[in-house]
Amino acid sequence: MSALLSVQGVHTFYGSIEALKGVDVTINEGEIVTLIGANGAGKSTLLMTICGKPQAREGRIVFAGEDITRLATHDLVRRGIAQSPEGRRIFPRMTVMENLQMGAIAVDDSHFDQDLEEVFTLFPRLKERITQRAGTMSGGEQQMLAIGRALMSRPRLLLLDEPSLGLAPLVVKQIFQAITAINRTKKMTVFMVEQNAFHALKLAHRAYVMVNGRITMTGSGAELLANEEVRSAYLEGGH
């Protein structure tokens, strides 16, 4: 297997606060990798640092053989990285269709219709809501839209930040099924941050645990699911 993304010794700061304190993560082509950790550990910061917002102060980020550490955020999507960020961040005053068009804004339109059909196959609900203003949809629908929008840019690497947050169990199940389907059928590489550690570890090929801006543990999903420390810290009281 070859590394698609490699994060090497990355430090990220907000002002003088050091949010990432030397993070190393490797994602191989075709994998689903999950990152778990408590609130405030720095998970979202890592996904955003990969996208250059904020940029890493130290360390290197290499994607498909290219050093992307200092690239502008808006250039990354053309390299093949798409993110469904924390809080979904759909454009509330645009329609579902316009949000999906925004997802495709950086790629040439010749694939648009085909990509749109694929998103609708994955999330039929979006097709029913095509002309609705995105801000008036339910949380689950907004999450589907955020993932669909990311897919419209035909990424090689899909970054997902807490896609199940605040959603009803049935919707969570749909979302995770969709993520598996994206990975299997489109061979898309997925790097996913999750609070819902149980689901995420079951789904993922490999996983990382982050504590306080550092990676403290890594292994296959199954290994971490079985790990005592992980169980008591992230799974107790769960399922």
Partner: protein, 301 residues
Amino acid sequence: MDYFIQQLINGLSLGAIYGLIAIGYTMVYGIIGMINFAHGEVYMIGSFIALITFLVLGVVGITWVPLALLLMLVFAMLLTSVYGWTIERIAYRPLRNSPRLAPLISAIGMSIFLQNYVQLLQGARSKPLQPIVTGSLTFFDGQVTISYVRLATIVLTLALMVGFTQLIQRTSLGRAQRACEQDKTMAALLGVNVDRVISLTFVMGAALAAVAGMMVMLIYGVIDFYIGFLAGVKAFTAAVLGGIGSLPGAMLGGVIIGLIEAFWSGYVGSEWKDVATFTILVMVLIFRPTGLLGRPEIEKV
């Protein structure tokens, strides 16, 4: 009745001009959340560029009026856009991440600078111009006259607004512009060059203000370096009245202010017409700060 229709036409053409300027205020506010107080001066510069173009065309011998007008329009829009772009680059972009007060002060400074700049280059005295477009339509046995210039102002503004609305609603540039208004970080994640979209917003606002500047010069036949102040405040009032951030609001607000001013001048007297506008500004800010078409923030995000 005749008198009423006359004032109505005057008000609509004046309102069209305020509306064109107001769009620049409202779009810039929509995308970077600040009032570009130098925008009135952009309009003033647009009208000077139109005037200078006209004089240059006279020198080089292009005197066929339709062609001259077209060239004036094109040059005014293009060159004023360069000013709009430059103002953003110099006065606002370096302060993008500063506290809100900083760009505000920078805007006021830019406004004073541009006034002095034009005053220095063009002189402080007002520039009269012999009428370029003459003639008018008369109705009701000559009781109502609509000059071609006013008619052209209304028609041109309507056309520009239709085109502009299409641009914002239907094109990918327009979508990117609206996306940046709603969430710049997300727009960047999707591949939008946010700085470029902000620059383009200033360019579009300046181009529309230039049209307003040119039409005012044609209607009134006299301009000076100070016309941007009052027109700017009124267009800003129009933008607030319509709901700052709202495009249709800016157009509606412009027309309402234009009508109020025309009818006030026509029926009450021209002394107090500016006071009427400012009274509206104060009333709107007190009783309906979101304006007529502004959106109350109720969506869940």
